[in-house]
């Protein structure tokens, strides 16, 4: 069954058509890539999917439910987590707090419980803490629980950001250029991490990535867009051989 189904998605910013008639159908459990040259509209598509923008036209449905009119935090609560192209952790909070707060939608206690410190509060906070600790343990980050993200190397910050997204316990994980700014050994680590998450948590991953090595190793299916329109789709080999893709990235050969 399709987990995410986007039909006829169009987004205009004033006169600019950032995304035009974009369609995609992502099956549950797949690992799909979205590539395209700079300014092609990839991040806009992610922003639309996570509810940050409301689409000008078209529908986005998640597990059969339309996300139109939903606020980003409501879309997230439906099971869509994402990371950002430039790391957006909360920098003055410990790694553990970062992961705790991302569970905000299912805290399970009210403001009153918070003031009165009821049993519900204690139970919920303990549960949040244990989920966070388990996740840090699983993602090899337990040594950094009390560190501030700013004091960590870039590669680890990426890992923390992915961990934070995972703490939402999403059905669909959107990774926006996870390999950007990483050195080659970090990239190896990232590939392993994404493969491991995909297997271990049994989730669907949709990623934007520029580094061909990452996309080609990870994704079973890739969609290429340019100027907001889809220009190619298929498996990694097909994409690499597609003349339209080469043209979009490298330009026309007879200029």
């Amino acid at each position: 069954m399709a987990l995410l189904e986007i039909k006829g998605l169009t987004q205009r910013f004033g006169g600019l058509q950032a995304v035009s008639d974009f369609n995609v159908c992502i099956e549950e459990g797949s690992l799909v890539g979205l590539i395209g040259p700079n300014g092609a509209g990839k991040t806009t598509i992610f922003n639309l999917t996570s509810g940050f923008y409301q689409p000008s036209e078209g529908t986005i449905s998640l597990g059969g439910k339309n996300t139109a009119g939903k606020k980003p935090h409501q879309v997230t609560a439906m099971g869509v987590a994402r990371t950002f192209q430039n790391i957006r952790l909360w920098h003055d909070m410990s790694v553990l707090d970062n992961i705790r707060i991302a569970q905000h939608y299912r805290l399970g206690y009210s403001l009153w419980d918070c003031f009165a410190r009821t049993k519900t509060y204690d139970k919920a906070e303990r549960k949040i803490e244990s989920i966070a600790r388990d996740l840090l343990e699983a993602m090899d980050l337990s040594g950094y629980a009390d560190e501030l993200p700013n004091n960590l190397p870039y590669g680890l910050q990426r890992r923390v950001e992915i961990a934070r997204a995972m703490s939402i316990q999403p059905k669909l994980l959107l990774l926006d250029e996870p390999a950007a700014g990483l050195n080659s050994s970090d990239v190896e680590g990232l590939i392993k991490l994404v493969q491991w998450i995909h297997r271990e948590f049994d989730i669907t991953i949709w990623m934007i990535e520029h580094q061909m090595k990452v996309v080609m190793t990870l994704c079973s299916e890739i969609k290429v867009i340019d100027f907001g329109a889809t220009i190619a789709e298929g498996g990694p080999e097909e994409i690499q051989a597609n003349p339209k893709v080469i043209k979009a990235y490298l330009g026309d050969e007879n200029i």
Partner: protein
């Protein structure tokens, strides 16, 4: 054991303050300074919720204090005291004692509702623009009250002392001291519990990256609403206590100057630090009171060494030169305030062995 040390310490402190006030071990001046200290603690910690933890810039905090002060004063005078305008008390004044906390809380609720005027625009605006809105709210409140002649308009409102006196007729205790101490503990306690929970930390996430907070499932609009209403509601409690402690209020005692005073306390203590705000409120109150004595001394000294002409006298107005100057020096040399965004326990880890918050 650790769980109770802080509570025990607070209880001992509160009881000793009340006993000292009861047996006249403190004169009325010292008592009023201590009460002002408590009120300032409430104001500083509540403003810290918005300015420190949530990273917005509210500069109209005294406006909410004003709403709380007027609402609770009018209610308590209407219900429990004979007044020129409101006539005889609606209830027997001896009940005033039991319903006083409720009246103060009602003042807080009214202030929290006024906080909506800031909270609702904060969904769309932030930063400087929201700061201007808070300033506008401060003025709106003051001029609204100045134009309601039933409650005295610009001349102010009084009669609260009668309510407090009728409490002492029932049981002879320094009631105002008790209420201020209880109010301070209550306010700091709920604010502290809020910001220490994962729920409340959502507002810290908003201050550090609002987009990330929204995407990571924090309902930012709801959190802003809670933060503004909680902050202004607690300021309303401070206002109610202030009104009853002094027995007289007028709109101009809640103008921008008082908002500034509260802001100075927050920045002095450190943004996003509860203990910092408490510490700063205590220090600031002591400083302001000390200046009351230091300024005449300074004046005498300057005249005796002939640095000032006889015709000029350093007056108390110089307070408003010295306090901003302290703020300027603070921003120069320690912009993060006394404690920064850390709590006392983080700065002195050894303290943590002795107490535990819940």
């Amino acid at each position: 054991m650790q769980k109770y040390t802080l509570n025990a310490l607070l209880a001992i402190g509160a009881i000793s303050l009340v006993t000292m006030a009861h047996f006249d071990a403190m004169d009325l001046y010292v008592q009023s300074v201590i009460m002002l200290m408590g009120i300032n603690i409430i104001l500083a910690t509540s403003l810290n919720l918005v300015n420190g933890y949530m990273g917005e810039f509210s500069c109209g905090h005294a406006g909410f204090m004003c709403v709380g002060a007027y609402v609770s004063s009018v209610l308590s005078v209407l219900f429990f005291a004979k007044d020129k305008i409101f006539g005889v008390a609606l209830f027997d004044p001896c009940y005033g004692l039991w319903f006083f906390p409720l009246i103060i809380l009602l003042g807080g609720v009214a202030a929290a509702l006024t906080g909506l005027i800031v909270a609702l625009p904060s969904f769309k605006t932030r930063g400087d623009y929201l700061a201007i809105i808070t300033l506008a709210v401060n003025y709106m409140v003051i001029s609204a009250i100045e134009n309601i002649s039933v409650i005295g308009g610009p001349r102010g409102f009084s009669g609260m002392k009668r309510v407090i006196n009728s409490m002492s007729d029932v049981i002879e205790l320094p009631w105002m001291m008790i209420w201020v101490v209880l109010g301070t503990i209550f306010s700091v306690w709920i604010l502290r519990r809020f910001v220490a929970s994962t729920y409340g930390k959502g507002i810290v996430a908003i201050s550090q990256d609002e987009v990330a907070a929204e995407i990571m499932s924090v309902n930012t609009n709801k959190m802003k609403l809670i933060a503004f209403m909680l902050s202004s509601g607690v300021a309303g409690i401070a206002g109610g206590l202030f009104a009853h402690a002094y027995g007289y209020i007028n709109p101009q005692s809640f103008n921008i100057l008082r908002s500034t005073e509260v802001m100075v306390m927050v920045y002095l203590g450190g943004m996003g630090s509860m203990s910092g705000a408490v510490l700063a409120a205590v220090l600031f109150t002591l400083l302001v009171e000390a200046l009351r004595f230091v300024i005449p001394e300074l004046d005498g000294l300057m005249h005796s060494i002939g640095m000032l002409p006889d015709s000029y006298e350093i007056s108390q107005v110089w307070k408003w030169v010295i306090i901003p100057l302290i703020l300027i020096l603070l921003m120069q040399f320690r912009p993060e305030g006394i404690l920064g965004n850390k709590e006392l326990g983080d700065v002195f880890p050894r303290l943590k062995k002795f107490y535990k918050f819940k």
